[in-house]
Structure formats: structure tokens, C-alpha cells
Amino acid sequence: MSAKIRLATVWLDGCSGCHMSLLDIDERLLDIADRIELVSSPIMDVKGFPENIDLTIVEGAITNEEDLHKVLAFRKNTKLLMALGDCAITGNVPAMRNTFAIDDLYNRAYVENADAEKQVPGAVVPRLLDRTRPIHEVVPVDVYVPGCPPHADVIFYAIAELLEGRMPDPMKMGKFG
């Protein structure tokens, strides 16, 4: 074994349960730790977008301008992109907002249900896109690992296979939901 693979994980519109499940790989993390170099992740404090990534694992759906910006940037800098979990693959719970008009959503969240400062935020909060989308509707995805969250075993299997240079078939072990 020579060079470590450069790995990034990204958290878009999701509950972070997929990242929790990733950590649930537990002691197996140690097995892969010396074969990867984590270059960006919500559990790290890294600013900006690293380059020459080998594998980017994306949790969450694309819901606002920030998500869109991130996914485009990571896709540009990564060889492989893994959609991790149902939000990334199907839109899942975040996409349930797609049945509502955006103005109604803003109004409900920031005006009707607010106790104070009843107003729709301006520039400080990234604007919602017209609809929440799964990753593959916006950028190409190489590996799909379904589940809400995906079981740690499925995640480990997928990463281990990729480390061995094989394309995993997570549908064999995983499922939606």
C-alpha cells in the first residue's frame, strides 16, 4: 500500500444521521484509517474546497444555494462521488417540502411560527432552491448507498470495496428507508 486515498465527506440537507452511521463503523474505522486521508468533513474544521479528492461521500439532499454551490465544487474536485443515504438519493424527508410553494414555507417557518422577529431572513440565510433535489439530478453520482440511515455495515462494505478498487453494489445489503 502506497498513497492514501483522499476522502471528503459533505453534509447537505440531511439530519447528519448518515454521518453518525458512518461513525458507527466503530473499530473498523481503525482498519481503514491508515488507508485514507480525510481532507474535508463536517467533523473537521476545514475552510474552502480541497482539490484532487479521490472519494467524496455526500449526505443530504440539495435544498438551497449553499448545497448547490458545495455539490458542484466537490464534484469538480473529486474522482468518485458517493450519495450516502436516502436524502442524497431520493430527497427523502427534506424533499417533502416540494409539495408546498416556497413563499408558504418561508411564511410558515419565519412568520407564523416565530415568537419574535417575525420576518423572512434576507442574505444571511442561503436561499431555498425552487425544489429539493436528490444529488444525481444535479451532478453525476458514482455509488449509491441507500438507507435512512444506511446501516454501518453497508457503509463499511461500500468504502472497503472502493478501497480495493472494486465498484460496490450496496443494494445487495441496503435498502431505502
Binding site: 427523502n92 453494489d169 435498502k175 431505502f176
Partner: protein
Amino acid sequence: MSDAPHILTLKIDDQDVSAVEGQTILAVARENGIAVPTLCFLKGLSPVGACRLCLVEIKGVPKLLPACVTRAAEGMEVTTDSPRLREYRRTILELLFAERNHVCSICVSNNNCELQSLARAQGLTHVRVPYRHPRLGVDATHSRFSADHNRCILCARCVRVCDEIEGAHTWDIMGRGIDCRVITDMNQPWGQSDTCTSCGKCVHVCPTGTLTEKGVAAAEMKKRQQFLPYLTAMREERE
């Protein structure tokens, strides 16, 4: 002449199998351990050939035919699995997932859903057609059951079991095409239905989390369909 049933021989997936005249390709395949995916089909209800997942190739027939309604014939050569069939089945499942709001993670039928397990069996990694995200309601007016139209795939099992087995014909389908919806009576709330006997058969034949019992949480709804072959067998005996 004897009235012994006429026995046919045919090939399914290169396997020599025998069938009683009148048996469907699906029945023969399942007898012989050959898996053919189905969704609208349910043993004990009249087959309608609507979901198109059980389409098979038959040598010499230009069109694909649904195994659930196509009868076995002497010398038939049936293929139930091919790259083309797999691709079509996958696409049909994708169309279903995109049609309404099938959010597995928060569904009472999570892990006990026929659509979900078919997706897995058919290796559906993601849905290539855009999700439609229609705005559909939930009818929770019945005291014991609820109907979540977001999860309905319009297989019409509820319609058939209510009509053919329970004899109430509470359920039916209204509208056309993409706007179709299952309804109770003349599109009244389920709880106000005059014909519903609250037998719950529809709930248990429903393949997804559309018709469910109240009071169950996510992934808690388990459907029990054993009553159906039992009931039909008993009735046939009596006849």
C-alpha cells in the same frame, strides 16, 4: 373420456416444467421456485395485469405478456429474466417511486413494504425520472384505519378484496391517468362510508403503507395476508 386434467409441458427459463391446463405462467413458475416479481397480483384475488412487473418473454410472441394472466401452453418457451426485462421492471418501479411521495424512512410499513423490497430485489439504486411530489391527502376519518394517498400505487388490491371477498365494494378508483385515486363509496371520507364493514381486509392486502391500522408507528405495520388463500380455499370447497 376421463375428466383427468390435461397436463402440459413447457419450458420456463430453460427449465422443463409441467402445468395443468388453465394454469397461468406465474403459478407454474412459482410452483417451480422461479421468482417472478409482482405487485398488483395477489393469490386469491382476480388478476388484472396492471403493474406490468411480471411481463415475460415468450418465444415466437412479439409482445411481452403478463405472467399473472397468461395461461401456460404446450411447448411454450418462457423467459422470466433477461437484461431487457430487468431494465423494464426497474423503470416501472422508478415510475412508481416518482409518481407519489414514497418516503420509506417515516412510513409505518417501512421494512414490510412490497414496493420497497421489490426495489431492493430489482437492484434499484436511484430513480432516474424526476420526482413529481404531488400534494395528496391522508384520510384518517375511519376509527381504526387510515389511508395515505401519498403511498398508493393504484394496484387495486383493496378494490378487489372489498368487492370479491368481502362483497362490500366500498373501494373503487376515480379519475383518469395520473390523477387516479382510490376512493371509498362515492368519494366520501372513509369514516363516513355506509358500505365499509371495517373488516380490515383492504388494509392487509395493501402492498405499501397506504392502508394501515391506526396507532402504529414507523416500521410497525405488518400486513397479514394469510387469510386470503384460506378464505378462498374454504369457499371453493363449499362450492
